[in-house]
């Protein structure tokens, strides 16, 4: 069969399935969007005035500082949920039908990644509506640029999640990965606290965490009109370049992994 028949059509179909399934499970919408909103209101509200960005604008309060990071958390949660669905698809039997079809194995990875990214962006756009509450004034250009950055970040995190989940037998195993790897990755991305105030080993970890650059790019694009006075924050071009490279690497690895082994778990 031709490439459109084995890769494009199956990918589009599996992508659509992700979105349809999500919209039918209301608890997932609440989980992925509600949690970051709650974190932001509780933590942001609690630290609102006691937080000061080292060497930064003194008028920046924590609600505003944490806003881009919470957007990134929406992306992270959606990627995590979608990754768990990889394990569920295997457990519930849907995946076995895909594996005996002539569809390219990569379509399984691509369908998941695109599906997850669509869902992440839908929710991120809802979250962006809260920007005025954070005191961030967004222009149409900064909204579009931010959505671009969020897309790249979502593709990388979904692909990373897929890579981690592909060989996993149970969702319990994935919870460990989530708590010990994915959540720290977010915590140490400059979402929660800036690298400038952290101890040196932490700030080094943050410097090699690829997600830090997605968060930095998001900060830069959200303040496109009035550039941030933050010398510690990586420049936009560097953040974008690293984020794009990270996304490309993860997608290639996910496609390669799923293609390499016909049947995981046998």
């Amino acid at each position: 069969m031709s490439l459109p028949a084995t890769l494009v059509v199956p990918t589009l179909s599996l992508w659509r399935r992700e979105v349809v399934r999500f919209l039918r499970q209301r608890s997932r919408i609440i989980g992925a969007l509600g949690t970051p909103v709650m974190f932001w209101l509780l933590i942001g509200g609690g630290l609102r005035h006691s937080f000061k960005l080292p060497g930064g604008d003194p008028s920046l309060n924590y609600m505003e500082y944490a806003f881009p990071g919470m957007l990134m958390l929406v992306i992270m949660f959606t990627a995590i949920f979608s990754t768990i669905s990889v394990i569920e698809d295997r457990k519930e039997g849907f995946l076995q039908g895909v594996l005996v079809s002539p569809a390219s194995r990569s379509a399984i990875a691509m369908g998941k990644i695109l599906g997850s990214t669509t869902l992440a962006l839908l929710q991120a756009c809802v979250f962006l509506l809260l920007a005025p509450l954070a005191g961030v004034s967004l222009s149409i250009w900064s909204v579009l640029a931010s959505i671009g950055v969020l897309t790249v970040a979502s593709i990388s995190l979904s692909a990373l999640g897929f890579l981690l989940a592909w060989h996993m037998e149970s969702t319990q195993g994935f919870h460990a990965v989530m708590n010990l790897f994915l959540m720290p990755m977010w915590l140490l991305s400059g979402s929660f606290f800036p690298a400038s105030g952290a101890s040196s080993w932490l700030s080094w970890t943050m410097a090699v965490n690829p997600l830090s650059y997605a968060v930095a790019a998001l900060r830069r694009t959200m303040y496109l009109q009035t550039p941030l006075e933050d010398k510690m924050l990586p420049e936009l071009w560097l953040s974008l370049a690293i984020s794009l490279a990270f996304a490309a690497t993860m997608v290639i690895l996910a496609g390669w992994r799923v293609d390499k082994q016909a049947v995981p778990g046998t």
Partner: protein, 320 residues
């Protein structure tokens, strides 16, 4: 005219700790319903995985409609329709949505896909449920949707792994009738694994697979003929001593199965009075019957299909 749609040649599969398939060879002609009968752990599931390209065989080869399952996987996948033991439907989607996704996986789109889905659903009598969520359907109806899904791309060979697991007897009958209809109307070749004797009895040909070895394969009728004309089942408190007595007195080789002895003989019913007189008190009951597939299975394997000791001999099950 009768093409070999499935051709298995000296197929062997070795797991780390045991041999799941041991030099198995047989072929299936076009338009046949072929049953693979065996206990759990007999090698059925391994054979199913190899034929559906999910597992490469350690040795030997298998061809489906002329394509090698290990090397021409893409070809094989487009020619087989597969029904798994565990459901492969997405329960959160409707019946029709499931069929549409399946079509897309095979590169079928648009009007062709819609027409074929509708036709198959009415073929299996579920067109009125098309827009319902799969999870709302009964087990028997879900099975029919699985079958419609497997037939969507007009496969040359339908492969089913224990398709009647979890179905009630009526739904099992219903499934078998659907397979017979497909055979009569579209000359579909069907290969199914089962551990139900009555199900195997309704197929055209049966292969008996036990401990990874192919013990026999033929039509159910011929297999029964091989056993003999009649089968005597004698129950006793002490079957071992009765067995010894039978061997000594009548030169009969009976097999002890639980608390009864099973004897294959041509003139069984004439022998009953003699038997009862010879061992007064030892014989509790005697049954005379035509051989069933149950007898066939015992004849070729030396144990019953649902036998505790056989399961223990196998050790860990194959199912993953």
């Amino acid at each position: 005219m009768n093409k070999e749609m499935v051709d298995i040649q000296s197929l062997t599969h070795q797991y780390a700790d045991r041999v799941a398939l041991d030099d198995v060879s047989f072929s299936v002609e076009q338009g046949t319903i072929f049953g693979i009968l065996g206990p759990n752990g007999g090698g059925k599931t391994t054979l199913f995985k190899i034929l559906t390209t999910l597992l490469p065989p350690t040795k030997g080869c298998a061809y489906i409609a002329g394509s090698n399952v290990a090397t021409d996987r893409a070809d094989v996948r487009s020619r087989i329709g597969v029904v798994f033991q565990n459901p492969s439907l997405d329960k959160k989607l409707t019946v029709l949505e499931n069929l549409h996704h399946q079509g897309h996986l095979f590169g079928i789109t648009g009007k062709t896909l819609r027409d074929r889905s509708v036709k198959l659903l009415s073929r299996f009598g579920i067109d009125d449920r098309a827009r319902e969520f799969v999870e709302k359907l009964s087990g028997g109806l879900q099975r029919r949707v699985e079958l419609a899904k497997a037939m969507l791309h007009k496969p040359a060979v339908l492969i089913l792994d224990e398709p009647s697991t979890g179905l009630d007897p009526a739904a099992r009958m219903d499934l078998m009738n659907a397979l017979k209809e497909l055979q009569a109307e579209e000359n579909v070749t069907t290969l199914l694994t089962t551990h139900y004797l009555d199900e195997a009895d309704r197929t055209d040909r049966v292969a008996i697979l036990d401990l990874g070895k192919l013990k026999a394969h033929d039509t159910p009728t011929s297999l029964k003929k091989a056993v003999g004309n009649e089968v005597l089942t004698v129950s006793s408190q002490d079957p071992e001593s009765l067995q010894a007595g039978l061997a000594k007195r009548f030169d009969l080789q009976g097999e002890v199965l639980g608390d009864s002895i099973r004897i294959e003989c041509d003139e069984g019913r004439r022998f009953v009075p003699e038997l009862i007189e010879a061992f007064p008190g030892e014989v509790e009951a005697v049954t005379v019957g035509r051989p069933t597939l149950d007898d066939v299975f015992v004849h070729f394997t030396g144990h019953r299909i649902h036998n505790e000791s056989a399961e223990n001999m196998i050790g860990r099950g194959t199912r993953s």
